[in-house]
Protein backbone atom coordinates (compact mmCIF):
# COMPACT_ATOMS: atom_id res chain seq x y z
CA UNK A 1 0.00 0.00 0.00
CA UNK A 2 1.25 3.46 -0.81
CA UNK A 3 0.52 6.44 1.40
CA UNK A 4 1.10 9.97 0.21
CA UNK A 5 1.44 12.84 2.65
CA UNK A 6 1.00 16.44 1.68
CA UNK A 7 3.01 19.28 3.13
CA UNK A 8 2.40 22.87 2.10
CA UNK A 9 0.89 21.70 -1.12
CA UNK A 10 3.92 19.63 -2.08
CA UNK A 11 3.94 15.90 -1.88
CA UNK A 12 6.71 15.10 0.56
CA UNK A 13 6.38 11.49 1.14
CA UNK A 14 5.33 8.31 -0.44
CA UNK A 15 5.73 5.30 1.76
CA UNK A 16 5.26 1.69 1.31
CA UNK A 17 3.96 1.62 4.80
CA UNK A 18 1.46 -0.70 6.31
CA UNK A 19 3.35 -3.93 5.99
CA UNK A 20 6.63 -2.58 7.25
CA UNK A 21 8.07 -4.37 10.20
CA UNK A 22 9.31 -2.54 13.25
CA UNK A 23 12.94 -2.55 12.10
CA UNK A 24 11.94 -0.11 9.42
CA UNK A 25 10.66 2.41 11.91
CA UNK A 26 12.42 5.69 11.89
CA UNK A 27 13.90 5.04 8.49
CA UNK A 28 13.72 6.90 5.24
CA UNK A 29 12.22 5.68 2.08
CA UNK A 30 12.85 8.16 -0.70
CA UNK A 31 10.74 7.66 -3.77
CA UNK A 32 10.67 9.50 -7.06
CA UNK A 33 7.46 11.46 -7.55
CA UNK A 34 5.80 11.96 -10.90
CA UNK A 35 7.35 15.39 -11.30
CA UNK A 36 10.80 14.02 -10.57
CA UNK A 37 11.26 15.35 -7.04
CA UNK A 38 12.59 13.04 -4.40
CA UNK A 39 10.18 12.55 -1.61
CA UNK A 40 11.37 12.05 1.91
CA UNK A 41 10.16 11.69 5.44
CA UNK A 42 10.61 9.50 8.43
CA UNK A 43 7.97 7.06 9.44
CA UNK A 44 6.77 5.85 12.74
CA UNK A 45 4.32 3.05 12.53
CA UNK A 46 2.21 2.26 15.52
CA UNK A 47 -0.36 -0.54 15.51
CA UNK A 48 -2.83 0.76 12.93
CA UNK A 49 -1.71 4.37 12.77
CA UNK A 50 0.85 6.00 10.52
CA UNK A 51 2.53 8.88 12.32
CA UNK A 52 4.90 11.09 10.38
CA UNK A 53 7.66 13.09 12.02
CA UNK A 54 9.65 15.26 9.73
CA UNK A 55 13.33 14.73 10.39
CA UNK A 56 15.57 17.71 11.05
CA UNK A 57 18.08 16.33 8.57
CA UNK A 58 18.21 13.52 6.04
CA UNK A 59 21.37 12.08 4.53
CA UNK A 60 20.53 9.91 1.57
CA UNK A 61 22.93 7.48 -0.06
CA UNK A 62 26.04 9.56 0.55
CA UNK A 63 29.10 8.48 -1.35
CA UNK A 64 32.47 10.14 -1.56
CA UNK A 65 35.20 8.90 -3.82
CA UNK A 66 38.64 10.44 -4.14
CA UNK A 67 39.68 9.17 -7.54
CA UNK A 68 38.51 5.58 -7.39
CA UNK A 69 39.05 5.30 -3.64
CA UNK A 70 35.75 5.30 -1.75
CA UNK A 71 35.91 7.19 1.54
CA UNK A 72 32.19 7.12 2.28
CA UNK A 73 29.99 4.40 0.81
CA UNK A 74 26.24 4.71 0.71
CA UNK A 75 25.59 6.26 4.10
CA UNK A 76 21.92 6.87 4.91
CA UNK A 77 20.45 8.29 8.07
CA UNK A 78 18.03 10.77 9.52
CA UNK A 79 18.54 13.13 12.40
CA UNK A 80 15.36 13.74 14.32
CA UNK A 81 14.41 16.93 16.11
CA UNK A 82 15.93 17.12 19.58
CA UNK A 83 18.05 14.03 19.03
CA UNK A 84 21.77 13.53 19.60
CA UNK A 85 23.03 11.18 16.92
CA UNK A 86 26.56 9.87 17.11
CA UNK A 87 28.78 8.84 14.23
CA UNK A 88 31.20 6.47 15.84
CA UNK A 89 34.22 5.02 14.19
CA UNK A 90 38.01 4.84 14.22
CA UNK A 91 40.23 7.40 12.52
CA UNK A 92 39.78 7.14 8.77
CA UNK A 93 36.27 5.69 9.03
CA UNK A 94 34.83 8.60 7.03
CA UNK A 95 33.23 10.53 9.89
CA UNK A 96 34.68 13.93 9.04
CA UNK A 97 34.04 13.45 5.34
CA UNK A 98 30.43 12.58 6.12
CA UNK A 99 30.03 15.67 8.31
CA UNK A 100 31.65 17.74 5.56
CA UNK A 101 28.99 16.50 3.15
CA UNK A 102 26.27 17.36 5.66
CA UNK A 103 27.15 21.05 5.72
CA UNK A 104 28.52 21.46 2.22
CA UNK A 105 32.30 21.50 2.70
CA UNK A 106 32.55 18.19 0.86
CA UNK A 107 30.68 17.52 -2.36
CA UNK A 108 29.16 14.04 -2.38
CA UNK A 109 30.06 11.88 -5.35
CA UNK A 110 26.51 10.59 -5.04
CA UNK A 111 23.55 11.22 -2.78
CA UNK A 112 22.34 14.34 -1.05
CA UNK A 113 21.55 15.95 2.26
CA UNK A 114 18.36 17.75 3.16
CA UNK A 115 17.89 20.07 6.08
CA UNK A 116 14.15 20.30 6.38
CA UNK A 117 13.13 21.00 2.81
CA UNK A 118 16.43 22.65 1.88
CA UNK A 119 18.91 20.64 -0.11
CA UNK A 120 22.38 21.39 1.22
CA UNK A 121 24.24 20.66 -2.00
CA UNK A 122 22.32 23.19 -4.07
CA UNK A 123 21.51 25.69 -1.35
CA UNK A 124 24.31 25.49 1.19
CA UNK A 125 24.14 29.12 2.20
CA UNK A 126 20.48 28.88 3.15
CA UNK A 127 20.96 25.54 4.88
CA UNK A 128 23.86 26.84 6.95
CA UNK A 129 21.70 29.67 8.24
CA UNK A 130 20.01 26.98 10.34
CA UNK A 131 23.13 24.99 11.17
CA UNK A 132 25.84 25.35 13.76
CA UNK A 133 29.17 23.79 12.86
CA UNK A 134 32.05 22.89 15.13
CA UNK A 135 34.86 21.59 12.96
CA UNK A 136 37.72 19.45 14.20
CA UNK A 137 40.24 22.23 13.89
CA UNK A 138 40.08 25.39 15.96
CA UNK A 139 39.53 28.06 13.36
CA UNK A 140 38.79 30.91 15.72
CA UNK A 141 39.78 34.30 14.42
CA UNK A 142 43.10 35.26 16.02
CA UNK A 143 42.65 38.85 14.86
CA UNK A 144 39.76 39.32 17.29
CA UNK A 145 39.16 38.95 21.00
CA UNK A 146 36.87 36.28 22.43
CA UNK A 147 33.81 38.55 22.39
CA UNK A 148 34.66 39.99 18.97
CA UNK A 149 34.87 36.50 17.51
CA UNK A 150 31.20 36.03 18.32
CA UNK A 151 30.12 39.53 17.32
CA UNK A 152 31.82 39.33 13.94
CA UNK A 153 30.44 35.87 13.25
CA UNK A 154 26.98 37.18 14.14
CA UNK A 155 27.47 39.82 11.46
CA UNK A 156 27.36 37.13 8.77
CA UNK A 157 23.83 36.31 9.96
CA UNK A 158 22.85 40.00 9.99
CA UNK A 159 22.75 39.96 13.76
CA UNK A 160 24.13 43.43 14.31
CA UNK A 161 24.89 46.06 16.95
CA UNK A 162 23.25 45.63 20.33
CA UNK A 163 21.54 42.38 19.33
CA UNK A 164 24.92 40.87 18.40
CA UNK A 165 26.56 42.01 21.64
CA UNK A 166 23.65 40.69 23.67
CA UNK A 167 23.67 37.31 21.93
CA UNK A 168 27.45 37.06 22.25
CA UNK A 169 27.22 37.88 25.95
CA UNK A 170 24.51 35.25 26.51
CA UNK A 171 26.63 32.63 24.80
CA UNK A 172 29.76 33.57 26.73
CA UNK A 173 27.72 33.08 29.90
CA UNK A 174 26.52 29.75 28.62
CA UNK A 175 30.01 28.47 27.86
CA UNK A 176 31.43 30.10 30.99
CA UNK A 177 33.82 32.43 29.18
CA UNK A 178 32.37 35.78 30.21
CA UNK A 179 35.50 36.56 32.25
CA UNK A 180 37.59 36.09 29.13
CA UNK A 181 35.48 38.26 26.84
CA UNK A 182 38.28 40.74 26.18
CA UNK A 183 41.06 38.19 26.05
CA UNK A 184 42.77 37.21 22.83
CA UNK A 185 42.33 33.73 21.43
CA UNK A 186 45.95 32.83 22.19
CA UNK A 187 45.27 33.26 25.89
CA UNK A 188 42.64 30.51 25.96
CA UNK A 189 43.27 26.88 26.87
CA UNK A 190 42.29 24.09 24.48
CA UNK A 191 39.03 23.44 26.35
CA UNK A 192 38.13 27.13 26.35
CA UNK A 193 38.75 27.34 22.62
CA UNK A 194 36.43 24.40 21.98
CA UNK A 195 33.75 26.02 24.11
CA UNK A 196 34.17 29.26 22.21
CA UNK A 197 33.90 27.45 18.87
CA UNK A 198 30.67 25.91 20.18
CA UNK A 199 29.40 29.33 21.26
CA UNK A 200 30.21 30.66 17.79
CA UNK A 201 28.29 27.77 16.23
CA UNK A 202 25.27 28.68 18.35
CA UNK A 203 25.24 32.38 17.47
CA UNK A 204 22.35 31.89 15.03
CA UNK A 205 20.30 29.66 17.38
CA UNK A 206 20.63 26.73 14.95
CA UNK A 207 18.19 23.85 14.56
CA UNK A 208 20.98 21.39 13.89
CA UNK A 209 24.49 21.40 15.33
CA UNK A 210 27.38 19.36 13.94
CA UNK A 211 30.19 18.56 16.35
CA UNK A 212 33.13 16.93 14.65
CA UNK A 213 35.26 15.22 17.29
CA UNK A 214 34.77 18.18 19.60
CA UNK A 215 36.60 16.84 22.62
CA UNK A 216 39.65 15.36 20.95
CA UNK A 217 42.74 16.49 22.82
CA UNK A 218 40.86 17.82 25.84
CA UNK A 219 41.60 16.80 29.40
CA UNK A 220 38.89 14.87 31.33
CA UNK A 221 37.56 17.96 33.12
CA UNK A 222 37.29 19.93 29.90
CA UNK A 223 35.51 17.00 28.25
CA UNK A 224 32.99 16.82 31.09
CA UNK A 225 32.34 20.55 30.75
CA UNK A 226 31.83 20.17 27.02
CA UNK A 227 29.47 17.23 27.49
CA UNK A 228 27.28 19.33 29.77
CA UNK A 229 27.00 21.93 27.04
CA UNK A 230 26.08 19.34 24.44
CA UNK A 231 23.41 17.88 26.73
CA UNK A 232 21.97 21.35 27.26
CA UNK A 233 21.56 21.73 23.48
CA UNK A 234 19.31 18.69 23.42
CA UNK A 235 17.24 20.12 26.25
CA UNK A 236 16.69 23.21 24.11
CA UNK A 237 15.30 21.07 21.29
CA UNK A 238 18.39 21.32 19.13
CA UNK A 239 19.36 18.30 17.00
CA UNK A 240 22.99 17.35 17.35
CA UNK A 241 25.18 15.21 15.17
CA UNK A 242 28.35 14.25 16.98
CA UNK A 243 31.31 12.39 15.58
CA UNK A 244 33.63 10.77 18.02
CA UNK A 245 35.95 7.87 18.55
CA UNK A 246 35.46 8.04 22.31
CA UNK A 247 33.12 5.27 23.42
CA UNK A 248 32.32 6.88 26.75
CA UNK A 249 31.37 10.10 25.00
CA UNK A 250 29.11 8.27 22.55
CA UNK A 251 27.50 6.14 25.25
CA UNK A 252 26.91 9.06 27.56
CA UNK A 253 25.66 11.65 25.09
CA UNK A 254 24.04 9.95 22.14
CA UNK A 255 20.44 8.84 21.81
CA UNK A 256 21.34 6.84 18.75
CA UNK A 257 24.57 5.71 17.18
CA UNK A 258 25.76 4.91 13.69
CA UNK A 259 28.88 2.78 13.60
CA UNK A 260 31.13 3.56 10.68
CA UNK A 261 33.99 1.53 9.38
CA UNK A 262 35.85 2.21 6.14
CA UNK A 263 33.12 4.57 5.05
CA UNK A 264 30.30 2.10 5.56
CA UNK A 265 27.60 1.86 8.18
CA UNK A 266 28.17 -1.42 9.96
CA UNK A 267 25.37 -1.06 12.50
CA UNK A 268 23.10 1.48 14.11
CA UNK A 269 20.74 1.83 17.03
CA UNK A 270 20.60 3.21 20.54
CA UNK A 271 23.71 2.46 22.63
CA UNK A 272 21.70 0.04 24.77
CA UNK A 273 20.22 -1.69 21.72
CA UNK A 274 23.60 -2.08 20.09
CA UNK A 275 25.14 -3.56 23.19
CA UNK A 276 22.23 -5.88 23.88
CA UNK A 277 21.90 -7.00 20.28
CA UNK A 278 25.58 -7.50 19.61
CA UNK A 279 27.03 -8.64 22.92
CA UNK A 280 24.37 -9.22 25.53
CA UNK A 281 24.63 -7.95 29.07
CA UNK A 282 28.01 -9.00 30.32
CA UNK A 283 31.51 -9.81 29.17
CA UNK A 284 34.51 -11.40 30.76
CA UNK A 285 38.06 -10.15 30.37
CA UNK A 286 40.38 -13.07 30.81
CA UNK A 287 44.14 -13.55 30.50
CA UNK A 288 46.74 -16.16 31.20
CA UNK A 289 44.76 -19.11 29.86
CA UNK A 290 45.23 -21.65 27.13
CA UNK A 291 43.81 -20.11 23.98
CA UNK A 292 42.61 -23.40 22.52
CA UNK A 293 40.77 -24.34 25.73
CA UNK A 294 39.14 -20.94 25.89
CA UNK A 295 38.10 -21.10 22.26
CA UNK A 296 36.60 -24.51 22.79
CA UNK A 297 34.61 -23.26 25.77
CA UNK A 298 33.34 -20.29 23.81
CA UNK A 299 32.27 -22.50 20.91
CA UNK A 300 30.55 -24.86 23.28
CA UNK A 301 28.63 -21.96 24.81
CA UNK A 302 27.87 -20.58 21.35
CA UNK A 303 29.35 -17.20 22.20
CA UNK A 304 32.17 -15.14 20.83
CA UNK A 305 35.70 -14.71 22.06
CA UNK A 306 38.19 -12.13 20.81
CA UNK A 307 41.79 -11.33 21.50
CA UNK A 308 41.83 -8.20 23.66
CA UNK A 309 44.99 -6.54 24.96
CA UNK A 310 47.12 -9.21 26.61
CA UNK A 311 44.15 -11.55 27.00
CA UNK A 312 40.70 -12.25 25.63
CA UNK A 313 37.21 -10.91 25.80
CA UNK A 314 34.35 -13.37 26.04
CA UNK A 315 30.66 -12.52 25.88
CA UNK A 316 28.57 -14.09 28.63
CA UNK A 317 25.29 -15.25 27.14
CA UNK A 318 22.42 -14.91 29.66
CA UNK A 319 21.23 -18.42 28.82
CA UNK A 320 24.64 -19.94 29.65
CA UNK A 321 25.27 -19.05 33.30
CA UNK A 322 27.64 -22.01 33.64
CA UNK A 323 30.18 -20.42 31.32
CA UNK A 324 31.48 -18.18 34.11
CA UNK A 325 32.19 -21.17 36.36
CA UNK A 326 33.87 -22.94 33.47
CA UNK A 327 36.09 -19.93 32.86
CA UNK A 328 37.06 -19.87 36.54
CA UNK A 329 38.17 -23.49 36.28
CA UNK A 330 40.73 -22.46 33.67
CA UNK A 331 42.63 -20.74 36.53
CA UNK A 332 43.42 -17.55 34.60
CA UNK A 333 45.89 -14.92 35.79
CA UNK A 334 43.19 -12.34 35.48
CA UNK A 335 39.44 -12.71 35.24
CA UNK A 336 37.08 -9.73 35.25
CA UNK A 337 33.34 -9.88 34.79
CA UNK A 338 31.74 -6.61 33.80
CA UNK A 339 28.85 -5.02 31.93
CA UNK A 340 29.28 -4.96 28.16
CA UNK A 341 29.94 -1.58 26.58
CA UNK A 342 30.21 0.00 23.15
CA UNK A 343 33.86 -0.78 22.89
CA UNK A 344 32.99 -4.46 23.09
CA UNK A 345 30.42 -3.93 20.35
CA UNK A 346 32.98 -2.32 18.14
CA UNK A 347 35.55 -5.00 18.88
CA UNK A 348 33.03 -7.68 18.04
CA UNK A 349 31.86 -6.05 14.82
CA UNK A 350 35.22 -5.02 13.48
CA UNK A 351 37.86 -6.90 15.38
CA UNK A 352 39.31 -3.49 16.23
CA UNK A 353 39.65 -1.62 19.47
CA UNK A 354 38.48 1.94 18.98
CA UNK A 355 40.33 3.89 21.64
Amino acid sequence: MIAAIEDSGNVLLVLESFFLDSSFLDSVNPVQSRNGNLLLATTMLTSNTLVTEKPALVAYDLWKLYGTHPVVQGVNFTLNPGEILGLLGPNGAGKTTTVGMLYGAVKPSRGFVKLGSTQVQSNGRLARRRMGIVTQEDNLDPDFSVMENLIHFAHHYRILGRAARQRASELLDKVDLQDYARHSIDELSGGMKRRLVLARALINSPQVVFLDEPTTGLDPDARQEFWKLVSSLKQQGCSVLLTTHYMDEAQRLCDRLILLLQGQVIDQGTPAELIKRTIGDEVVEISGVNAAQLQALAEQADTWCRSFGDGYLVALPPDRPSLWEQLVTLQPHRLTRRLANLEDVFLHLTGKVLQ
Binding site: A105, V106, N123, R125, R129, E137, N139, D141, Y157, N204
Partner: protein, 259 residues
Protein backbone atom coordinates in the same frame (compact mmCIF):
# COMPACT_ATOMS: atom_id res chain seq x y z
CA UNK B 1 15.85 26.34 -6.15
CA UNK B 2 19.57 26.96 -6.32
CA UNK B 3 20.87 29.83 -4.25
CA UNK B 4 22.68 32.67 -6.02
CA UNK B 5 26.43 32.39 -6.54
CA UNK B 6 27.03 35.24 -4.14
CA UNK B 7 25.00 37.76 -2.21
CA UNK B 8 25.76 41.39 -1.51
CA UNK B 9 25.54 40.79 2.23
CA UNK B 10 27.78 37.75 2.08
CA UNK B 11 30.50 39.61 0.18
CA UNK B 12 30.12 42.70 2.34
CA UNK B 13 30.24 40.63 5.50
CA UNK B 14 33.60 39.11 4.55
CA UNK B 15 34.94 42.49 3.44
CA UNK B 16 33.66 43.99 6.69
CA UNK B 17 35.62 41.40 8.70
CA UNK B 18 38.86 42.37 6.97
CA UNK B 19 38.10 46.07 7.26
CA UNK B 20 37.55 45.69 11.02
CA UNK B 21 40.93 44.00 11.41
CA UNK B 22 42.52 46.79 9.34
CA UNK B 23 40.73 49.42 11.38
CA UNK B 24 42.32 48.17 14.60
CA UNK B 25 45.78 49.02 13.30
CA UNK B 26 44.88 51.63 10.72
CA UNK B 27 47.74 53.94 11.61
CA UNK B 28 50.36 51.24 11.08
CA UNK B 29 48.53 50.08 7.95
CA UNK B 30 48.35 53.56 6.46
CA UNK B 31 51.99 54.30 7.08
CA UNK B 32 53.57 52.38 4.15
CA UNK B 33 51.25 53.78 1.45
CA UNK B 34 51.88 57.26 2.83
CA UNK B 35 55.57 57.10 3.60
CA UNK B 36 56.72 55.14 0.54
CA UNK B 37 55.60 57.64 -2.12
CA UNK B 38 56.89 60.53 -0.02
CA UNK B 39 60.29 58.85 0.28
CA UNK B 40 60.35 58.00 -3.42
CA UNK B 41 59.25 61.47 -4.47
CA UNK B 42 61.77 63.13 -2.19
CA UNK B 43 64.58 60.79 -3.22
CA UNK B 44 63.88 60.85 -6.93
CA UNK B 45 62.56 64.38 -6.96
CA UNK B 46 65.50 65.99 -5.23
CA UNK B 47 68.08 63.38 -6.06
CA UNK B 48 67.40 62.64 -9.71
CA UNK B 49 65.52 65.66 -11.05
CA UNK B 50 68.65 67.85 -11.21
CA UNK B 51 70.39 65.11 -13.18
CA UNK B 52 67.45 64.08 -15.35
CA UNK B 53 65.57 67.32 -15.72
CA UNK B 54 62.65 66.79 -18.07
CA UNK B 55 61.81 63.48 -19.71
CA UNK B 56 60.26 62.89 -23.12
CA UNK B 57 56.77 61.44 -22.90
CA UNK B 58 54.02 61.30 -25.52
CA UNK B 59 55.78 63.64 -27.89
CA UNK B 60 56.44 66.28 -25.25
CA UNK B 61 58.86 66.85 -22.40
CA UNK B 62 57.54 66.75 -18.86
CA UNK B 63 59.17 67.45 -15.50
CA UNK B 64 60.56 64.25 -14.00
CA UNK B 65 58.45 64.44 -10.83
CA UNK B 66 55.26 64.85 -12.84
CA UNK B 67 56.37 61.84 -14.85
CA UNK B 68 56.91 59.56 -11.88
CA UNK B 69 53.97 60.68 -9.70
CA UNK B 70 51.31 58.61 -11.57
CA UNK B 71 53.73 55.67 -11.57
CA UNK B 72 54.00 55.94 -7.79
CA UNK B 73 50.22 55.66 -7.60
CA UNK B 74 50.31 52.57 -9.82
CA UNK B 75 53.03 51.00 -7.71
CA UNK B 76 51.03 51.62 -4.55
CA UNK B 77 48.08 49.91 -6.22
CA UNK B 78 50.27 47.01 -7.38
CA UNK B 79 52.03 46.29 -4.12
CA UNK B 80 49.15 46.74 -1.71
CA UNK B 81 46.58 44.77 -3.67
CA UNK B 82 48.99 42.02 -4.74
CA UNK B 83 50.50 41.54 -1.29
CA UNK B 84 47.10 41.54 0.40
CA UNK B 85 45.86 38.98 -2.12
CA UNK B 86 48.99 36.85 -1.95
CA UNK B 87 50.40 36.97 1.58
CA UNK B 88 47.40 37.93 3.70
CA UNK B 89 45.00 35.65 1.87
CA UNK B 90 47.50 32.78 2.03
CA UNK B 91 47.74 33.26 5.79
CA UNK B 92 43.97 33.43 6.16
CA UNK B 93 43.62 30.33 4.01
CA UNK B 94 46.40 28.16 5.39
CA UNK B 95 47.35 29.33 8.87
CA UNK B 96 44.40 31.17 10.40
CA UNK B 97 41.84 29.01 8.55
CA UNK B 98 39.66 32.11 8.28
CA UNK B 99 38.18 30.99 4.97
CA UNK B 100 37.25 27.61 6.44
CA UNK B 101 35.64 29.30 9.46
CA UNK B 102 33.67 31.68 7.25
CA UNK B 103 32.39 28.73 5.24
CA UNK B 104 30.79 27.27 8.36
CA UNK B 105 28.57 30.34 8.37
CA UNK B 106 25.84 31.33 5.93
CA UNK B 107 28.33 32.18 3.20
CA UNK B 108 29.17 30.56 -0.10
CA UNK B 109 32.64 30.09 -1.53
CA UNK B 110 31.92 32.96 -3.92
CA UNK B 111 30.98 35.25 -1.03
CA UNK B 112 34.27 34.55 0.72
CA UNK B 113 36.35 34.68 -2.45
CA UNK B 114 34.85 37.92 -3.72
CA UNK B 115 34.97 39.43 -0.22
CA UNK B 116 38.68 38.68 0.03
CA UNK B 117 39.30 39.92 -3.51
CA UNK B 118 37.36 43.08 -2.81
CA UNK B 119 39.43 43.65 0.29
CA UNK B 120 42.68 43.28 -1.68
CA UNK B 121 41.19 45.75 -4.15
CA UNK B 122 40.35 48.11 -1.30
CA UNK B 123 43.94 47.98 -0.04
CA UNK B 124 45.15 48.88 -3.53
CA UNK B 125 42.68 51.73 -3.72
CA UNK B 126 43.74 53.07 -0.32
CA UNK B 127 47.40 53.04 -1.37
CA UNK B 128 46.74 54.54 -4.79
CA UNK B 129 44.49 57.26 -3.41
CA UNK B 130 46.84 58.20 -0.57
CA UNK B 131 49.73 58.39 -3.01
CA UNK B 132 47.55 60.45 -5.34
CA UNK B 133 46.70 62.83 -2.49
CA UNK B 134 50.39 63.37 -1.83
CA UNK B 135 50.89 64.03 -5.53
CA UNK B 136 48.01 66.53 -5.42
CA UNK B 137 49.46 68.27 -2.35
CA UNK B 138 52.87 68.30 -4.04
CA UNK B 139 51.24 69.96 -7.06
CA UNK B 140 52.06 67.09 -9.42
CA UNK B 141 48.51 65.95 -10.11
CA UNK B 142 45.31 67.93 -9.93
CA UNK B 143 42.44 66.94 -7.66
CA UNK B 144 40.23 66.41 -10.71
CA UNK B 145 42.86 64.23 -12.30
CA UNK B 146 42.95 62.10 -9.17
CA UNK B 147 39.17 61.83 -9.03
CA UNK B 148 38.96 60.77 -12.65
CA UNK B 149 41.82 58.29 -12.14
CA UNK B 150 39.95 56.38 -9.47
CA UNK B 151 38.23 53.99 -11.93
CA UNK B 152 41.61 53.21 -13.48
CA UNK B 153 43.07 52.51 -10.05
CA UNK B 154 40.06 50.32 -9.32
CA UNK B 155 40.73 48.31 -12.45
CA UNK B 156 44.41 47.94 -11.49
CA UNK B 157 43.57 46.99 -7.91
CA UNK B 158 41.11 44.29 -8.94
CA UNK B 159 43.65 42.90 -11.40
CA UNK B 160 46.59 42.80 -9.00
CA UNK B 161 44.33 41.58 -6.18
CA UNK B 162 43.24 38.69 -8.41
CA UNK B 163 46.89 37.97 -9.27
CA UNK B 164 47.65 37.92 -5.54
CA UNK B 165 44.82 35.51 -4.87
CA UNK B 166 45.98 33.32 -7.72
CA UNK B 167 49.40 33.24 -6.08
CA UNK B 168 47.87 32.45 -2.67
CA UNK B 169 45.94 29.59 -4.22
CA UNK B 170 48.89 28.25 -6.18
CA UNK B 171 51.73 28.15 -3.65
CA UNK B 172 52.02 25.54 -0.93
CA UNK B 173 54.42 27.35 1.38
CA UNK B 174 54.47 31.01 2.25
CA UNK B 175 58.08 31.42 1.07
CA UNK B 176 56.98 30.42 -2.43
CA UNK B 177 55.09 33.70 -2.69
CA UNK B 178 58.53 35.20 -3.32
CA UNK B 179 58.75 33.38 -6.65
CA UNK B 180 56.15 35.47 -8.53
CA UNK B 181 57.45 38.53 -6.72
CA UNK B 182 60.98 38.04 -8.03
CA UNK B 183 59.99 36.72 -11.43
CA UNK B 184 57.07 39.00 -12.17
CA UNK B 185 56.34 41.81 -9.73
CA UNK B 186 59.86 43.24 -9.37
CA UNK B 187 60.67 43.13 -13.12
CA UNK B 188 57.31 44.74 -13.78
CA UNK B 189 57.94 47.36 -11.13
CA UNK B 190 61.28 48.31 -12.61
CA UNK B 191 60.74 47.96 -16.35
CA UNK B 192 57.23 49.18 -17.07
CA UNK B 193 58.04 52.85 -17.46
CA UNK B 194 57.90 53.63 -13.79
CA UNK B 195 61.09 55.65 -13.42
CA UNK B 196 61.99 56.14 -17.05
CA UNK B 197 60.10 56.08 -20.37
CA UNK B 198 59.95 52.62 -21.89
CA UNK B 199 61.16 54.18 -25.14
CA UNK B 200 64.66 54.24 -23.66
CA UNK B 201 64.72 50.46 -23.36
CA UNK B 202 66.00 48.24 -26.19
CA UNK B 203 63.01 47.64 -28.53
CA UNK B 204 62.57 43.97 -27.62
CA UNK B 205 62.68 44.65 -23.91
CA UNK B 206 60.49 47.71 -24.34
CA UNK B 207 57.87 45.63 -26.18
CA UNK B 208 57.92 42.93 -23.51
CA UNK B 209 57.58 45.57 -20.79
CA UNK B 210 54.66 47.17 -22.63
CA UNK B 211 52.69 43.93 -22.46
CA UNK B 212 53.02 43.72 -18.69
CA UNK B 213 49.89 44.99 -16.95
CA UNK B 214 51.64 47.61 -14.83
CA UNK B 215 52.75 49.37 -18.04
CA UNK B 216 49.13 49.77 -19.14
CA UNK B 217 48.08 50.94 -15.69
CA UNK B 218 50.85 53.54 -15.57
CA UNK B 219 50.08 54.73 -19.09
CA UNK B 220 46.42 55.12 -18.19
CA UNK B 221 47.21 56.96 -14.95
CA UNK B 222 49.44 59.32 -16.93
CA UNK B 223 46.42 60.38 -18.94
CA UNK B 224 46.94 63.97 -17.76
CA UNK B 225 50.23 63.90 -19.71
CA UNK B 226 48.56 62.45 -22.78
CA UNK B 227 46.86 59.14 -23.46
CA UNK B 228 48.36 56.53 -25.78
CA UNK B 229 46.45 56.16 -29.04
CA UNK B 230 45.41 52.60 -28.17
CA UNK B 231 44.39 53.40 -24.58
CA UNK B 232 41.10 51.53 -24.94
CA UNK B 233 43.04 48.42 -25.88
CA UNK B 234 45.02 48.81 -22.66
CA UNK B 235 41.79 49.08 -20.65
CA UNK B 236 40.51 45.97 -22.40
CA UNK B 237 43.81 44.18 -21.74
CA UNK B 238 43.72 44.98 -18.02
CA UNK B 239 40.08 43.97 -17.80
CA UNK B 240 40.70 40.69 -19.64
CA UNK B 241 43.65 39.84 -17.42
CA UNK B 242 41.59 40.67 -14.36
CA UNK B 243 38.84 38.25 -15.43
CA UNK B 244 41.35 35.54 -16.34
CA UNK B 245 43.26 35.79 -13.06
CA UNK B 246 40.07 35.93 -10.99
CA UNK B 247 38.85 32.72 -12.62
CA UNK B 248 42.24 31.06 -12.22
CA UNK B 249 42.44 32.14 -8.58
CA UNK B 250 38.96 30.82 -7.81
CA UNK B 251 39.81 27.53 -9.51
CA UNK B 252 42.96 27.22 -7.44
CA UNK B 253 41.38 28.03 -4.09
CA UNK B 254 38.01 26.30 -4.45
CA UNK B 255 39.35 22.71 -4.30
CA UNK B 256 41.28 23.57 -1.15
CA UNK B 257 38.04 24.45 0.62
CA UNK B 258 35.34 22.38 -1.01
CA UNK B 259 36.67 18.86 -1.36
Amino acid sequence: MKSPLFTFWGVYSVWHRHAKVYQRTWLVNCLPPLSEPIIYLVAFGYGLTPLVGDVPYGGQTVPYLKFIAPAMMAIGVLFQSFFEGAYASFIRLNFQKTWQALLTGPLSFSDVFIGDWLWATTKGMIAGTLTGLIAVIWGLYSGWNLLLSLPVMLLGSTLFGAMGLFTAGSVRQIDQVNIPIFLFIIPMFTLCGTYFPRSTLPPVLGNIASVLPLASLIDLLRWNLGLPSLWWLQVLWLFSLMVIFAILAARRIYPQLIK
